[in-house]
Every structure is written in C-alpha cells, then in structure tokens.
Symmetry: C2
Subunit: 279 residues, 2 copies
DNA sequence: GTAAACCCTATTGTAACAATAGGGTCAAGA
DNA sequence: TCTTGACCCTATTGTTACAATAGGGTTTAC
C-alpha cells in the first residue's frame, strides 16, 4: 500500500502550504519522490515526511533554508552539534538586542506617560534627585547660538564619541546640555558642553561625571525659545528664597515629540539647578 | 550660515548610508529640504537631523518604516504612547519565541552530545529514571507494520492532536512508542500508541499519563530494524536476572539524524522496560 | 582644464514564501 | 462517457529595508 501522495495531501498531512512544498522543491530542499513526466504533477512518499519533519524542526530552531540545505550535506554529528551551538549563541545575541530594544521602549513609554501628566509646565518645584552619571562632551562652541544649528552639530559629535565608546544606542535619546556653575552664577546662559545619561557601571572613560544626589529646583519647559526665560525664573527663585547655587545648571531632554510639519525639534526639557541652604 | 548639506555629508554626519537616504526620500519618510530642479541633487538642512534622529530612534525600537511614517501623522502623545506599549508587547512575544527556540536548540545540542558519547549501543544498562509525563495517542493500528508507514501516519495524527492542544512545537521531537505491559509480558511487540514527552505542568488534558520514577533496564538502539531484537534482549535479561516487568515498554526517540540519501528516518532510540525485584 | 570625488536614476538581489493569473488534470457522479 | 468541481501546473508579482551594481552627469579642488 505504498501510496503516492499528491502535493495537496502532503501539505495537509504536514500542516504546511502547497506553496511551501513548491518552494522547497524549487530550491532543492525536498523534491517529490516521483514527478509525472507528462503532467509534472508531484507525488510524495510517506517516508518523505521524515525529511519534512527535520526541515520544520530546524526551521523552528531559527535556521535558514540555505543552512538547512547545508545540514543535509553534513551528516556527522560533530558538525551538526557545532552548528547547533553556534545557533544558540546567535539567539543569545538576538535576545540581548531585544532586551535593549525593550528597555528603550519602556523608557520612551514612561517618558510619554510622564509628559501627558505634566501639569506643571513652567512651574518651579523643589525636589531631591538621585545620583546620575553623565558623559560630557565639549563642542567648543556655544550651543545657544544659531538657533539650534550649533547644537545639532555638537550633538552629532557627541554621538560619534558615543559610538567610539560603544555606548548602547538607547542612550542616544537621553541627552542634555550643561552650563557650569560659574556661568550660571553670573546669570550667563552659555555652554559648549552637552551630555548623555549613562548607566552606573560606566566609569573609567574620560568625560564621565557624577551628578550627586541632592536637592534641585526644577522647571519643565516645552520650547527651546523659552529656556532662557525659565532658567532665569529658577535663578530668581533661588535668590528670593535665599538659597545658593550648589552646582552646574542642567537642561535635560525628557522627551522628543515628532514635529514633522515644522521640521524642527520639539522637546520637553527639565531645567535643573542644584541648591543648598544659604547659611 | 545655514548650510546646504549634500547627501554624502548628511550620510556621514548621521552614520547612515547614501542609499538609506535615497530610500527614505523615495518612500516619503524624509525628503531633502531642497532639491536642485536641474541636477536633482539633494540638499538637506541641519535641522532635518532631528527627523533622522527620530527615525533612527524608532527603528531601533523595532518599528518598520511604514509604522514610522504613521508616527509622523499621529502627533498626539496618547496615540504614540499606545503604539509604544503595543510594541513592547510584540517584543515580549518575540522574546518568548526565542526562549522556546533556545530551549529546543539546547535539548538538541545535548542529545547530539549524548549521542557522540554513546559507547553502549546495544548494551543493557540498569538505572533509575526520573518521573516523566507523556501525552499518548492511540492510532488504532499496529505501528510495527508496513515498514514505518503506519508509524508515519500515526505520528502525523499525534502532531495534529498536539496542535489542537496547543503544545509548543518543541515537543514535536520528543516522541516515542509505548507497548503495554500485558503485551510485552507475552513477548509481543505490538503497539498502536505513540506519545510525546510533555512538561510537568500539563495535566488536565485527556491522554496525559505519568511514567513514575523507578528502575528501568535500558538499551540504546540505532536502527528501527534492530528494535525487535534489542527489545527481546531486554526481556531475556529480565528473566535471567529474576526481575519482573513493572510497567509498559517504552521506545523513546533520543535523536534524529538527517539521512538525506536514504530518505528514511535514522534515529537513535532508547528502549526501556521498568522492572522490580521478583520476591 | 582636468581628474577625482561626488551625485543622479534605474535595476537587481536578498528570505521565505503568499497571492494571484491563466491554464491543464483528476476523480466521482449522472 | 461526459461533466463538473476540486485539484494541479508554471510564472509573475509582492513583501522589507536597503546593498550593490551599471551607466551616466556634476562639482570641486588643483
């Protein structure tokens, strides 16, 4: 009762599509045991299910059809074992990539949710911020010139540095600018430095600084053109409340919205000045 | 100093290829701010880096270019937040898939390594095997007939059942046949049932059985045609050593090698009979 | 003025099929 | 024996995000 199995039956029997079998035949992965020379009808034997099983099995393990073809040329268990281990390694890499992606997404999601709840745009707050680590880059030009142009160029340079140091791509959105304490104490909003927030474990690289945990006065700002005014609001507040500037001024980009029509950045920033009580 | 940036410079500035920029222009994702109407040369403005940043950012989060296009039509933070959360969900799924793949690979790898170390093909051993759970399927026909043909058909049926019960694909390679105790005690190798090893948490489904932890006499067998002889070897051993058959005979497929040329299954099986001391 | 470096469009290729179109074949019932 | 519906064939196009050409024009620096 050795049955000739038509392509449709073979497909149903193995839960694959007819096209798939066509395809496997075409690339020489699995050709029917008999092909009618007149009609070109394909007929499979039940034993070919074993091959198909094997193909499906390898496919499930993430091998490409080309790789599966190679499998069939390597019959020794040693080569196969090696290929399997390599594949495991490859999957580990993919998992890492996905983990990074997910982390990035989660940060973005959190930021957008924060954004939607910001009721306090332009309102001064005081709170203690935790320790953060940043990678600073000095572009040697004042980023507050030229309507963001200089900023853009320096941002590119920062990213190239980050690529050199092999920072994960996910850092690329956690940026900001820093104006040193001396400047801000003179009420000058001038800066040549921008930074990227990095994870705690980076340390040996030159340019890494620590922002200690401490009290800050902060304000949310949703337009670049407002930054100057808002920064001065912070300074005014500090003076009025007899506080003292205790460190560098930070303008941290919280979130970036796609502003297609204007073709210009639209971002939410959190302006921050560390303070201590004036004794 | 609003500079016209040529495509090559833009590419270098942003670490992308010229082709990529061509492509983005083509699909309307990012068109240069100025195109020379005579030469068709593309010139970008520095501010378009912001858009490119955003594109790269979303790409990094795993969105397709089409999806990114949609992002630009949805400017409200709420829609974006929703898209982000959906993407997180999608990544979770992919991670699960990868985890399954990896598990399958690890089992396969382990099996092949075991195989390479099998020195004891055809040699009887006694050892205690841990508890296992199996899903049995009765094909109503003796699988030892017709040179594997019946087996193939019943194997397809088992898999269809497994699909219905939504077993993970990784189970598909952990199969075997079972010959009930009454049969094997009569020295009859006759079986209509095959099984699939399943994880411990499956229980409510009909057809699930438990193989208790206990002592077995076992033998490795590398050819279907040898199974009968080897099974009788086990029975002989049991009788000679005054043991008693304590349960069903199991033929477990340990590993399946690709046997391209012969177009027939070539597998390593571990034949097992549970025993107890004859008091 | 010239050559190198740059830019353009258009085509082909990648992976693993799905979805057609347009036509021939098989099997079962009348 | 005929018919009809179910089945099969080949060939083409489409999918993603570009890379890699080919064949030709342009810019820029010396």
């Amino acid at each position: 009762m050795l049955e000739k199995i038509s392509i449709g039956k073979m497909a149903k029997l193995n839960n694959v599509s007819v096209q798939t079998l066509h395809h496997y035949d075409k690339i020489g992965l699995l050709s029917p045991s008999y092909t009618d020379p007149i009609t070109n009808y394909r007929y499979y034997s039940i034993k070919q299910c074993a091959s198909l099983d094997f193909i499906k099995y390898l496919k499930y393990m993430g091998f490409t059809l080309q790789e599966i073809l190679e499998f069939f040329t390597k019959e020794d268990a040693k080569s196969i074992s090696k290929l399997l281990d390599e594949q495991i390694h490859l999957i580990d890499q993919k998992m890492n990539d996905l983990t990074q992606m997910k982390r990035t997404l989660e940060v973005a999601s959190k930021n957008y949710k924060t954004y939607m709840q910001i009721q306090n745009m332009g309102i001064i707050e005081r709170n203690v911020l935790p320790e953060r680590k940043i990678y600073c880059y000095d572009g040697k030009k004042n980023i507050y010139n030229d309507h963001l142009e200089t900023y853009e160029y320096i941002l590119r340079e920062l990213r190239n540095q980050a690529l050199i140091h092999q920072f994960p791509t996910s850092y690329f959105c956690n940026v900001g600018s820093i104006t040193r304490m001396e400047m801000i104490k003179q009420r000058k909003l001038t800066s040549t430095e921008i930074f990227m927030l990095v994870d705690a474990h980076f340390s040996e690289i030159q340019g890494i600084e620590i922002l200690p945990a401490q009290e800050y006065v902060t304000i949310y700002c949703d337009q670049f053109s407002n930054e100057r005014d808002y920064a001065f609001k912070l300074i005014d507040y500090i003076e009025e409340h007899k506080l003292e500037i205790a460190g560098d001024y930070i303008c941290e980009v919280i979130i970036e919205l796609p502003e297609w029509t204007h073709a210009e950045r639209h971002m939410i920033m959190k302006l921050q000045i560390p303070v201590k009580k004036n004794l």
